[in-house]
Symmetry: C2
Subunit: 111 residues, 2 copies
DNA sequence: AATACATATTGACAACTATCGATATGCTTG
DNA sequence: CAAGCATATCGATAGTTGTCAATATGTATT
């Protein structure tokens, strides 16, 4: 089975930034609007908007407009999907890509 | 509780690349040497060495010299640690950072 | 319609990343 | 020790990222 690693890259990239990790954590219990998220950081409004765009485009965060505000929330399904993907590529498995290694020996060593 | 998001950034950054995700997958069942990993990709030897450095410096991959070869393996503890961190920041929790949000209402909405 | 507020977009820029070819280092074997 | 193979490092380069100030857009209120 060929796994589609590239499919997960945008979400993992979205998580590979300290600011965005904190935002994900902040959204784990419910919705927050941009202005309240902004208060927790020492970054400009445009920078936060940039981070929220990366998070929403990655699918990890949902954003809905509510009048003048944007309400952001965590897309739990997507987050769980990423976690499941991680778990799958870091666990031994019967159809593992490494089984294709020509010189792999019986003790799981090659070379 | 203040979480140390920054602590996990190098490992997540290491995972945010298609090539390195595939390498992690290849190492999930056992050790492989650089030359065998290289065969699975269309990249130069120096580029692979660069990726292996990022993976080992992040702690996700262990590299040990074995004569002329390097034997790489997944650091399962580190991988599990990252997964546990993800799980923790994407799940509701009593000590959640979002609970500090001034305007958070009883229905977990703010604004 | 004018003003104020919330958020998004733009343009600029410095820092970082992925890549390569060339070269260096380290190990093994004749 | 010389040659050859495995891996690492270096220097260059094109592309990406995170940041800001300025500006634009969208919504609510007066």
């Amino acid at each position: 089975m060929e796994r589609s690693y590239a499919e997960y890259v945008p979400a993992i990239k979205a998580m590979s930034d300290e600011t965005r990790l904190k935002i994900i954590d902040m959204l784990s219990c419910g919705e927050m609007c941009a202005c309240d998220i902004l208060e927790e950081f020492s970054i400009s409004q445009s920078t936060l908007s940039y981070h929220m765009k990366i998070l929403t485009e990655s699918g990890l965060v949902n954003g809905v407009r509510d009048g003048a505000w944007m309400r952001y929330s965590l897309n739990k399904e997507k987050a769980d999907d990423v976690i499941a993907f991680f778990t799958s590529i870091t666990c031994e498995k019967d159809d593992c890509i490494c089984k294709k290694c020509k010189s792999m020996k019986s003790d799981n060593r090659c070379c």
